[in-house]
Every structure is written in structure tokens, then in C-alpha cells.
Amino acid sequence: MWNVEVSSACIGSGVCAGTAPHHFAIGPDNRSRPVATPLEPHEAILDAAVSCPMEAITVTDAATGAPVEASL
């Protein structure tokens, strides 16, 4: 499982929620959050992290705490 965090750098662009709608949602404060954490690993989560203009999304392995990096 992956732990997914959205930092306070989020500007609510909605890029993640548009890119990975099953994994991110925009809250009433117009900022993004993961729909749950930890989440089942999915490429769309890494897509969203890479696409975030603020680099506000971090993904870590829930078991080891190691960062999960998107393959380029």
C-alpha cells in the first residue's frame, strides 16, 4: 500500500483530481486531498504526483516509508 500526502503547497489547480479522479478529490476548501490513505498502488497516483505544478504530492511505501518515485 502507498501513503499519499498533499502538502500545504497545494494551490487547488485540480490537476491531480482531473488526472486521477479515483485517487484525489478537491475538498470544500478548494484544495486537493487523497480520497483515502493508504491507497492501493496505481500508476495514476504517480501520474498525478508528476503532473502537480506545485510538487505538492508525496507518495511513500506504507510498509517501509520509502518514497515511491515515478519512472520517467
Partner: protein, 400 residues
């Protein structure tokens, strides 16, 4: 196709001023927030005007860009280009291309470019200050600034501006209603970039185009046509809007002189002033790139059926009183808001952080170098290029 008597015809009548959206939008937002509309070709769709609804249309994947390809409201140059590009795709196809370029436009990467942009602003404005007045700000500042920034980032020779700018202008217009002219301009840009890409293949450089070529040649992450379209899309998107937004920022600030004075006295307000101006300024009157519903969706109590064309007014959403108190007032001290000037969702402006930084540095530079700046002609003598999707000045004579 049958239309109801109360179906609204698009486009709406033009706004009577440069500084506010057409008044009909406020009435629609209050009374018919999801309005059935007729496009010029007689087909029908929906116009969305409230902030929350517009944001939802932009973010919610049930509103598809890919399904809107070739639909009504898609006859502008940008819509034709969009159909063949990243702007006409939905995730996950869209994501495959967006991922390749997103890293070059993050807030962090853009900050690294700031000192260079500040130096460029200083050089352009030092040159202007030495010229006989009035000076055309379009020719000497608002166009060359973003052109040089995106050219350097991409790896396009900036001196080719005289070659590509006319094609770029055509694509950002309705080409007098002649799509053939737009396709010709796209063909010319594709040929131009085909040659540039061949040159870069032979002589790689430290720029985004070289990185994209590597993504194609080493990892097969995109097709040759996608490579070409992405490059010229970035070139156009990277300068047309920013150049015109610099002009519109200045016109709007000078129309509200107390706000301009406030900024001149407190340049530390520039970052939030840029956000407020992004919210307030009427860069374009159009309704954004259309979406098509993939299933029935309820918005503000109206059920939009599946397969319906939906357009949204960012200008109306950005003046929504339920989100922005006293929304029709320009207030540079307004707390930074999540305006929709850069859109939202998967297609949120890729270059938003870059544009923000350029606009901040442009304003700071104008305040620093040209105190007392004013437009040398009355509003009635301002000449805009016709048929453009953003308000595009032919020239902006200024003095100080």
C-alpha cells in the same frame, strides 16, 4: 434541430467596456446558471457561469475534451489545434504527454528562471527608457519578453519571431472564419518545427525540445506528430496569452488609478496583485474549449444529458459574488484566491507558474523603470487585432 424560444444564442453580445464581462453573464449566473444555448452553426449545448459549476466542469472527468473534438464551438484556430494535440485528449492519453513536460514548468523550476527573466525585463525596459516617447510597449516589451522566455526554454531561436509570430497569430484567431487558413498556418509551423527538431537531433542542447526528442527516440513515449504538435503548442501557448495579458494588466491598472498608485507605493503587493488581476482582467470574451458530457450530470439543479456540448465562462465564474466579495471591484489587497484565470483540472494551464512569474517581473519592472507610466492614446484609439480569441493589441503606445 429544434430550439426552445428561450434558448440563448452564442456568442453573447460583446462587453461594452474592456474592464468587465458582458453584463448578461451576471444575469445568467443569478437566474440561469446552466443555460441551454445555440451555437452559431445552429447546434445546441449548455453554458455554465457559476464558479463552483465551472470548476466542476473543468475538473470532473465526465466532461470530456476528447469527446468534444470537432463539435460545435470548435471552429476557432485554437480549437482546431486542440483537436490534434494534448488539449484535445483526456487522461490517461493526456497524462502520457503532460508528464513529459510538467517537470519543466513546476513552481520550483520556474523560480530557477526568475533571475534571468528579471535581467531580461531590466534590459528591455532600459532600452525603452532611452527611446523617444511614445514607445510601443507591444513591440518593445510585452511581446519580446514572453517570446524570449519560451524560446530559450524550448530551444527555439528567438530571432525567428518574425517567422513564426504571424502563423501563431492566425492560430489564435478565427482566421476570418476560414479554417483552411488555420490549417495552413499549422502546416507552416509543423514544417518549421520539423526542421528545428532535425537540427536538435543532430546537435542536442540543454533545452526542453531536446528532452522531448529523447523521450521519443529513446523511450518511444510519443509519436513524431505528437512531438511536433507539442513543441509548437508550447511555443504559441507560451507567449500569445502572456504578451496580451501584460497589455491587459497595464490597461486595467491604469483604468483604476488608485489601485495603480497603491501598487506603485507598495510593490511588495505584486504577487497578490497578479492573482487579483488574473481574476479580474478580461483577456478574452470567449467561453473556453468545449467539453462533452460522457453521462448525465446534475449542475445547479439542471440535468445535462449525456453527449451534450458544455462551454463555461471563466469570466463569469471569476466575478461570482458568492466566492469573491464585491467581485466587480479590482482590489489588489484581496487575499490570494483560487481564480479560474488558468483554468483547472487536467488541462490547468501548464505554464501557469511561468506566466505568474513573468507577469510579476513585468509589473515590478514597469513600476521600477517607468514611474508615471501612462497610455499615450485614449481607449477609443486602441486597436485590437480582429477575430482573436484573446484581446490582442496591435500596439500600445505608452509614455511616462
Amino acid at each position: 434541430m429544434t430550439t426552445h424560444d428561450d434558448t440563448l444564442a452564442l456568442p453573447l453580445p460583446p462587453a461594452p467596456t474592456l474592464y468587465h464581462p458582458t453584463p448578461q453573464l451576471a444575469a445568467l449566473r443569478a437566474n440561469r446558471p446552466v443555460a441551454e444555448v445555440t451555437f452559431p452553426d445552429g447546434s445546441t449545448g449548455w453554458l455554465v457561469t457559476r464558479y463552483a459549476d465551472v470548476r466542476q466542469v473543468l475538473i470532473d472527468p465526465r466532461f470530456s475534451r476528447a469527446a468534444a473534438a470537432g463539435s460545435a464551438a470548435s471552429d476557432t484556430g485554437i480549437a482546431i489545434v486542440a483537436t490534434d494535440s494534448i488539449l484535445g485528449m483526456d487522461p490517461p492519453e493526456h497524462t502520457r504527454l503532460r508528464r513529459l513536460v510538467a517537470g519543466a514548468f513546476t513552481a520550483r523550476r520556474v523560480e530557477e528562471l526568475r533571475p534571468k527573466v528579471t535581467a531580461l525585463v531590466d534590459a528591455l525596459l532600459t532600452d525603452i527608457a532611452a527611446r523617444p516617447r511614445p514607445v510601443d510597449l507591444v513591440e518593445h516589451f510585452s511581446l519580446p519578453l514572453p517570446v524570449r522566455v519560451i524560446c530559450e526554454l524550448l530551444g527555439v531561436p528567438p530571432e525567428d519571431q518574425h517567422i513564426f509570430h504571424a502563423w501563431s497569430d492566425t492560430i489564435m484567431s478565427d482566421a476570418g472564419g476560414d479554417p483552411a487558413e488555420i490549417r495552413a498556418a499549422m502546416g507552416s509551423l509543423a514544417t518549421y518545427f520539423g526542421k528545428l527538431i532535425a537540427d536538435k537531433r543532430a546537435t542536442p542542447a540543454d533545452d526542453l525540445m531536446t528532452a522531448l526528442i529523447a523521450a521519443r527516440d529513446n523511450a518511444d513515449r510519443l509519436s513524431e506528430q505528437e512531438l511536433v504538435n507539442l513543441c509548437f503548442g508550447l511555443l504559441i501557448a507560451g507567449h500569445e496569452t502572456t504578451a496580451n495579458q501584460i497589455n491587459m494588466f497595464l490597461l486595467t491598472l491604469l483604468h483604476f488609478p488608485e489601485e495603480y498608485e497603491r501598487l506603485a507605493k507598495s510593490p511588495e503587493l505584486v504577487p497578490q496583485a497578479v492573482e487579483e488581476l488574473m481574476r479580474f482582467v478580461q483577456l478574452g470574451e470567449g467561453a473556453g474549449l468545449p467539453r462533452v458530457t460522457t453521462e448525465a450530470v446534475d449542475l445547479s439543479g439542471v440535468t445535462i444529458p449525456p453527449g451534450a456540448v458544455v462551454v463555461m465562462s471563466m469570466a463569469a465564474a471569476n466575478r461570482d459574488e458568492s466566492v469573491f466579495a464585491d467581485a466587480d471591484r479590482l482590489d489588489l489587497t484581496r487575499e490570494i484566491t483560487q481564480h479560474l484565470g488558468f483554468g483547472a483540472g487536467a488541462h490547468h494551464c501548464l505554464g501557469a507558474q511561468l506566466a505568474r512569474m513573468e507577469l510579476q517581473e513585468a509589473l515590478k519592472g514597469l513600476l521600477r523603470h517607468l514611474p508615471g507610466l501612462h497610455i499615450a492614446v485614449p481607449d477609443t484609439e486602441l486597436r485590437f487585432k480582429s477575430g482573436m480569441i484573446v484581446r490582442s493589441l496591435q500596439s500600445l503606445p505608452v509614455t511616462w
